[in-house]
Subunit: 214 residues, 2 copies
């Protein structure tokens, strides 16, 4: 691995600690929140000097923004790719939901940071806003396509899109707690796969026009 291809040029000196800080901070911020994570905790866990954060990112907030952008980027492509597949609008919606559950379940830092943003301030960080907007709009378009051909029942496409997004976000967050609280005796990755299938079917059933296609 580590073939000198796209995006994997050999790390120049200094870029190594920069990346270590990013990776470590992503874990700590998503687990303990911004205020619950000290610069000292980050630099010690990353094996870097205390002053490294200020040097590479200007401030703790600068590091947080960099982490946010880094962690949010994959989400865009996951959704975009699932939407781009061929099939009926409903089947594509099912695939979007399933792949979001899987991706968020495997990268829990992502929904954690997003929900921290949503529960922490009146309005989330611009990067989160932009991601929400683009995802909602794509889903809305897909829903309206299905409504136009009669395969999706009538209704407010924005609210439907919000409902669709609420499932992956919430599911990936409660996965572990539910498993523990309800004594689910199952491998975690298997439980995640089952959850993804369930969420996809739940979404499709909720949207499909009664009686199926016209």
């Amino acid at each position: 691995m580590a073939a000198p291809g796209v995006g994997s040029r050999p790390p120049s000196p200094g870029e190594a600690t920069r990346d270590a800080l990013l990776d470590t901070a992503a874990v700590l911020f998503s687990e303990r929140g911004f205020d619950g994570t000290s610069v000292r905790a980050i630099t010690e866990a990353a094996g870097a000097n205390l002053a490294a954060v200020t040097y590479h990112f200007g401030s703790k907030e600068g590091l947080y923004e960099a982490v946010l952008r880094e962690l949010l980027r994959p989400m865009r492509s996951v959704i975009a790719q699932a939407i781009r597949m061929r099939g009926t609008p409903l089947s594509r919606i099912g695939r979007v939901v399933r792949s979001m559950v899987v991706h968020m379940g495997q990268n829990p830092g992502n929904p954690r940071l997003m929900l921290q943003q949503l529960t922490g301030s009146p309005l989330p960080h611009p990067a989160v806003q932009s991601l929400m907007k683009s995802n909602l709009q794509r889903l809305q378009a897909l829903i309206e396509e299905g409504q136009a051909d009669g395969s999706i029942r009538p209704g407010d496409s924005l609210l439907m899109a919000v409902s669709l997004l609420s499932q992956p976000a919430h599911m990936s967050i409660v996965l572990r707690p539910v498993q523990s609280i309800m004594d689910v005796d199952e491998d975690e990755s298997q439980f995640l796969a089952r959850m993804a299938d369930h969420a996809a079917e739940f979404a499709v059933r909720a949207l499909e026009a009664p009686g199926g296609a016209p």
Copy 2:
């Protein structure tokens, strides 16, 4: 108002500042999180002395636990009451979802604190765990009742219950951001009512057996 009825005995001295601390802390903790809220910010906003928190609650953590318990209690009864109503399992599920969206939308501190717990530590506070467990179990029972009489489609009742709960929690959190980001030109309480109706219908459609009752 303030008729000397149940639970409203005249506040004994000292209980007044205790209550003020609880109310103020509920707002601040839910808006800024535990680490983002200082004891000084709480006591100043409550018009109390800095030492009042230690005196009345032992510590900042003690106050936080008291707030959590106080804020979570209404949720139990909201669900319990909606479940207790008469009607088919599906119609009762619809009512549970609708009243949860409304209640959480009107008391945003509640889902905020719960989600902060879920995004902040591997396992949420015992009080949150207990609430999740009881709510999931009640919903599971209701779902299985509907599956037994054929009005609800087959499927894992636990995952279905999780999907049901995910809607109110997420909706009440994203209500304002979505309204702002998607330029929804509507009164907030009206938008909330529409969201509650939508969530209830979304849930019912997702669960109902194809072809209606047998």
